[in-house]
């Protein structure tokens, strides 16, 4: 068993599942989207990104790229959330669609990342 694979696989897949957990639900009903879940998604995504850093292979670079995409999308979602709560009068409901759809984009990137990761694992002969 390769410990490094376990750890990186754990974080990559956890990033996707958490992302999905946040994304799933009515797009304009905020009862379905927990801020804690978004927070957890961001943290796990950041960890996954750092774990992917420094892999010199072609696949490593693409994995890193997907992670960076997910990071940008999720952090934008968090920023939109913060702005809508504190800096605008409209409140959270106005921005719900933007936040959820941003996290949906991040989910796509995470799915791609997991697929690449699985492909690499299946290809490996050890």
């Amino acid at each position: 068993m390769n410990t490094q694979k376990v750890i990186s696989g754990f974080f990559i897949i956890l990033a996707m599942t958490l992302n999905f957990g946040f994304f799933y639900g009515d797009i304009d009903n905020f009862a379905h989207h927990s801020p804690y879940e978004l927070f957890a998604t961001i943290v796990v995504n950041l960890i996954a990104t750092v774990l992917k850093l420094g892999d010199k292979t072609q696949l490593g670079s693409v994995l890193l790229a997907t992670s960076l995409v997910a990071d940008i999308q999720l952090i934008s979602a968090a920023i939109v959330w913060g702005i809508s709560v504190y800096a605008t009068s409209g409140g959270i409901q106005d921005s719900a669609q933007i936040i959820v759809s941003l996290s949906g984009g991040a989910l796509m990137a995470n799915v791609v990342s997991v697929i690449l990761f699985m492909g690499d694992t299946l290809k490996s002969k050890r």
Partner: protein, 566 residues
């Protein structure tokens, strides 16, 4: 390639610190958000993520703006207490890792490499790569640097590189610490670049030189490799590799020695080509009697050949410095037994003695001992390194062949003065009478210490002349040898050789020689005449004066004045 290496090192070193920061921040933020607090009115509330992130950011970096947005409850304070320890430690750990990274040897090395390769990339002028920084190449670098040639040096020792950087060369000599015989470092030094003109390897170790020559041939087959080779076998190998420029210092010394024996006037001219000071005045001629050669090594053998060719009698004393030192446990020649050896070889009636062993101290003591027996004897020493030059000077040795200097002189000329190199080849074909006449001419026109320079008839080197020729003008060489203060006088210079576009050579061209574009001239001149000549061929006004005897009137004012006069 190297900038990505730098990034790679940074990423690898910073991975753990990044994760530590992310995890500690995540834990502390989450705790703050979950633990309920009370607001100013005593109502329960939950900190938002923004507040928590803000708070943790200034807490972890120990800025500490205080408890926001409301004063904390004890439950919150307990959590913050815990948070301070993990977040601050995590933060400091990351900062520490970053500082350590800046001082990281590997990173510094990579940064240095990146800087070096950027410099090479930006270098647009022709340059020469010199491998190894030692006393031989040091001398060469000084000479080339004076000519304004760009040089790149590779040495495997950082101390040597530091030493080189302290020399303050202008223009800058780029130095790289790297393995000399690895293809990577040669490539990094720009061996595949078009403006790399030559690679020079002058190590004592012949195998090293051959290896480098082979490597260079493989990396860039057209490259001009100049290597030292001190044995026939090695030279044979190099020839098979297709290396044309190998320097055998012992053969060079022997050739010079032979020339000095048989044609002293030509030899004097050779000394002029090397710009040895006071070449014609004070060099005495070698005696024509019996020679004793001490040391039958690579140098002794070729000197013997030279003496045989000159039909002079010579005797050998077989003396090997290494075995001598072991046997006598001393590097000083001259005990009773040594006296006997010298006497047996006939020191008393010999006219010259040559000390040609590998050891400078033994060479010196041989000559001093010989002088004790026969004060009239002419002493010739092989001096292996430049460092001992003052000792040899103060010992009043009649003539010293400094191996390192011979090498650096030859390489310098090959790189910097190709015409002089060619002239020397022609010189060896002439007889001594020709040499006598030429050195007389040079002496009467330019004095004892002329400067030697090369000029090519192209716009960057001779603007006015090239311009005139391209417009269809015809210039005979005599017109260029004008004194600028009075064109009826001849400038103090001697044209030694012309090489035209078709690589044809004219030795000592006369005044009727018709100058063509891209001719190359080798000229001996006084310092003043050299400067004048360079002015003449470049400056339109001076050039006009030299060929026509009139001042060029291109000043509006002088034209007006002229009109008024008439």
């Amino acid at each position: 390639m190297h900038s990505s290496n730098i990034l790679w090192i940074i990423i690898r070193r910073m991975r753990t610190p990044f994760i530590v920061i992310i995890v500690t921040f995540a834990i502390t933020i989450l705790g703050l958000v979950i633990i309920p607090g009370v607001d100013a009115q005593g109502r329960p509330y939950h900190m938002s993520f923004l507040d928590a992130f803000y708070f943790v950011t200034f807490m972890a970096s120990t800025i500490g703006f205080g408890e926001i947005p409301y004063e904390f409850t004890y439950a919150q304070r307990l959590w913050v207490l815990f948070s301070i320890y993990i977040a601050v430690i995590g933060w400091f750990y990351a900062i520490g890792a970053l500082v350590a990274l800046i001082q990281d040897k590997q990173l510094i090395e990579q940064l240095r490499l990146a800087k070096f390769s950027r410099k090479i990339k930006d270098l647009k002028e022709p340059f020469v790569i010199i491998l190894g920084y030692n006393s031989t190449t040091k001398e060469l670098i000084h000479k080339l640097n004076e000519d304004g040639k760009r040089i790149i040096v590779i040495d495997k020792s950082q101390d040597k590189i530091d030493e080189l950087e302290l020399e303050n060369f202008m223009p800058e000599v780029y130095a790289l610490k790297a393995n000399i015989d690895s293809p990577d470092s040669l490539k990094l030094a720009g061996i595949t670049k078009r403006n790399c003109k030559a690679v020079v390897a002058l190590f004592d170790n012949d195998f090293k030189n051959t290896k480098i020559a082979l490597l260079v041939r493989l990396l860039n087959p057209k490259m001009n490799v100049i290597v030292k080779s001190s044995t026939k076998e090695q030279s044979e190998h190099l020839k098979n590799l297709g290396v044309k420029n190998f320097i055998n210092p012992f053969n060079l010394v022997a050739d010079r020695f032979h020339l000095a024996l048989t044609a002293p006037n030509l030899w004097k001219l050779e000394m002029l080509l090397f710009q040895h000071k006071q070449y014609i005045k004070s060099y005495e001629e070698l005696p024509k009697g019996k020679y004793i050669i001490c040391g039958y090594g690579r140098m002794g053998k070729v000197l013997k050949e030279a003496l045989d060719k000159a039909q002079l009698e010579s005797v050998f004393i077989d003396l090997k410095s290494a075995s001598y030192k072991v046997k006598k446990n001393s590097a000083i020649f001259g005990d009773a037994q040594d006296f006997k050896v010298l006497l047996e070889a006939g020191v008393k009636d010999a006219s010259a003695i040559i000390a040609a062993t590998k050891d400078d101290l033994i060479n010196l003591t041989i000559l001093l001992t010989a002088k004790k027996i026969n004060p009239e004897i002419y002493t010739i020493a092989r001096e292996n390194t430049n460092d001992d030059i003052t000792i040899f000077n103060s010992a009043k040795i009649d003539r010293a062949y400094i191996i390192e200097e011979v090498i650096s002189e030859h390489v310098h000329r090959q790189i910097s003065q190709p015409l002089a190199e060619r002239f020397l080849k022609e010189l060896y074909k002439q007889n001594d009478k020709w040499g006598l006449e030429l050195s007389k001419t040079i002496r009467t026109t330019t004095g004892y210490n002329p400067e030697l320079f090369e000029i090519r008839v192209v716009k960057p080197e001779a603007y006015a002349l090239t311009d005139y020729l391209k417009k269809g003008g015809i210039v005979n060489l005599g017109l260029l040898a004008r004194d600028l203060s009075d064109r009826n006088r001849r400038a103090k210079l001697v044209f030694l050789m012309v090489k035209n576009r078709k690589e044809e050579i004219t030795l000592l061209p006369d005044d009727n020689y018709e100058v063509k574009v891209s001719d190359r001239f080798l000229i001996a001149a006084t310092k003043e005449a050299k400067e004048d000549f360079e002015l003449l061929v470049n400056n339109l006004n001076e050039f006009h004066y030299a060929i026509s005897g009139e001042e060029l009137n291109n000043w509006a004012l002088s034209k007006i004045l002229k009109k008024k006069e008439s």
